[in-house]
Symmetry: C2
Subunit: 371 residues, 2 copies
């Protein structure tokens, strides 16, 4: 196996596939990148226990030669070292050459690196073209769908299913839901294909994946019982799905409310942000609403107290006093990306809704704190 | 005590004095900022066990009013909370008001914070105007003096004096020296005053202090047996000095050498940087020099090996092979800030010198590694 390659293109591809590569792993072969050179180009694969990424560097792009002097073959090279070496080399091109004794030589006019390598057969076998339900999404819309919901998933794994982002497709709609003990976020977007599926993908994983999309305009997604595949440009990312049933949350959002507060998102956000400087461990902030006044306040016994009034608001309802975790409310308001928000309450101990006044496709639900 | 103040000016001063404030301390009062309002303006003091900083906000600057509605007094407020509150407030001005029951109210049109406070008398007494040897330095020259030498000081405190930057003034020269077990850095700059002193200031501390100078053109320095004072703009920083004798390093730099290698600093640096990707725990890089060739190389048993040739060089001497800690040599070459450097060797096991080919005021000395 041998090739001379444009260093920048090689580095770009290595950066993509090396993201999941662990520095240590029980599966010893995962510390490697798999390189396969055949008639399609140079295929790189990197993976960990949850994600596998495959990307192809073609021989040429827009008439620009990328790979030359190619001799086909396959090999494993330690991923982290390979990335660092290719990053630090100074030449426009480098030559990658597998030598007799399973040593890879990476060289340019100035530098010469020899890396111990391993046989390609030692790497796990991945099939990046499994069958499944297939559809396309606009990248920006899908990234927003994930970002505006997945933050509400649980971090801790005592109920593993709650660490998932729950994705459901039916009636040409893709719905994302995340929840943990005290909050819930849901958003839906339109898709063009009539597909039906439910998939639970780890929220942490899908957040890593959306950061790989970069300039791709559309993502092709394939889902089956065990895996979800994201295909864009010359890259395929395969993620394992969580096994099991997501909690039934059909009726989690109340249908009717007794109190309605409309406010400017930015003003409400910065008021809560400021008073939360002086909260206790649970980030508890108090909201008191009357027809005349909206006040957020906080207090810590050791340090002091803070309060602030909201100037621009519209309120329907009796006097209401409610306590909440300020970081949950801040996350929810930010996720709405709205100019004006409406908070809908049933009572001081019941979960309340935060929505964009102008958009019903996204909803945030938060459970209050008890004093 | 009461005043209304321009928020930005207040924040700028708080940022200066709050830098050393610890989040926890055996001396309980150190978590506070001391605020004293008198006829000169608002004086803020923050400190830890090593540094104390005092800064004065005048009533007006360039005809712009900064403080108004002033009622003199003194109080202690928890430093970290005060900085965060003043940073997050949105108004152009804020009002600081000490209320009856030792609570401070910080407010603007929107927000109202009440912070528990403490009596000014509980704070340590600092004298920022102690007598001592006094001189002025150009800020840029002094910052460079510190940055180009202090990195060579020891990090670990098993020989506390080696954690110091050793500053010596005589004959209108200020000399800085730092050393640890395997390296030594020395630089001197000219000063205008005839002062004589030796001061050992913790290298970590002086590096924090030089970052506070910012736009000041000149720093006024006062040194006595126990302390060093840095005066600039409206700020005084007082640092404790280390007690004891600095090692005698008069004859540490050899007088004559057998091998002389001149090279381009950038080329040598990036070659060593690249091959050090594949070094062992001790960062050992091998340098082999002959009349025809300069090669740096490295090897690790598990990963592989690297080598690189230097193209532009001038060498006087026999064949030389020497091992060194690559990060020491990289630090030293960077610190020289030179276009071309000269490495002067006596032999493979003797300390070697790295200097700017054009400037004798700075010298770096490194002890080789034994194979």
């Amino acid at each position: 196996m041998r090739f001379t390659i444009n260093r920048e293109e090689f580095l770009k591809a290595l950066n993509v596939v090396s993201k999941p590569i662990p520095s240590k792993s029980f599966v010893a072969s995962l510390i490697f990148v798999k390189l396969v050179l055949d008639d399609r180009g140079l295929n790189l694969i990197g993976s960990n226990e949850t994600i596998a990424i495959s990307t192809l560097i073609p021989f040429a792009k827009n008439d620009q030669e990328i790979i030359r002097n190619a001799k086909n073959g396959a090999i494993l090279v330690q991923g982290r070292y390979l990335v660092e070496i290719v990053r630090k080399l100074s030449g426009k091109e480098l030559t990658f050459d597998v030598m007799d004794n399973a040593v890879v030589e990476i060289s340019d006019e100035k530098s010469n690196f020899q890396l111990n390598s391993a046989q390609a057969e030692e790497y796990p076998e991945y099939d990046f073209n499994e069958d499944g339900k297939e559809f396309n999404v606009n990248t920006k819309e899908f990234v927003a769908l994930v970002e505006q919901t997945s933050f509400a998933a649980a971090n801790k794994e005592n109920r593993p299913m709650l660490t998932a982002l729950n994705l459901t497709a039916e009636n040409k709609k893709l719905t994302a839901i995340a929840l943990d003990a005290a909050r819930y976020a849901k958003k839906e977007i339109a898709i063009n294909e009539e597909v039906e599926f439910v998939a639970n993908i780890p929220a942490k994983t899908i957040n890593e994946i959306i950061r790989m999309f970069e300039e791709a305009e559309t993502i092709n997604i394939v889902v089956n019982e065990r895996k979800m595949f994201f295909k864009f440009n010359n890259t395929i990312v395969a993620s394992n799905l969580l096994n099991g049933e997501y909690p039934n949350v059909k009726n989690i959002v109340p249908k009717s409310f007794n109190y309605f507060l409309e406010a400017n998102a930015e003003e409400l956000l910065s008021a809560i942000d400021r008073v939360s400087l002086l909260t206790n461990d649970k980030n508890t902030v108090r909201l008191v609403i009357t027809q005349d006044d909206v006040e957020v306040s906080s207090t810590t016994s050791e340090v002091g107290s803070a309060k602030e009034k909201i100037n621009t608001f519209h309120y329907e309802g009796e006097r209401l006093e409610i306590l909440f975790n300020s970081s949950f409310v801040i996350d929810a308001i930010k996720a709405l990306r709205a100019e004006d928000v409406v908070l809908q309450f049933i009572g001081e101990f019941k979960p309340f809704v935060i929505k964009d006044t102008k958009n019903d496709n996204i909803i945030q639900l938060i459970t209050p704190v008890r004093a």
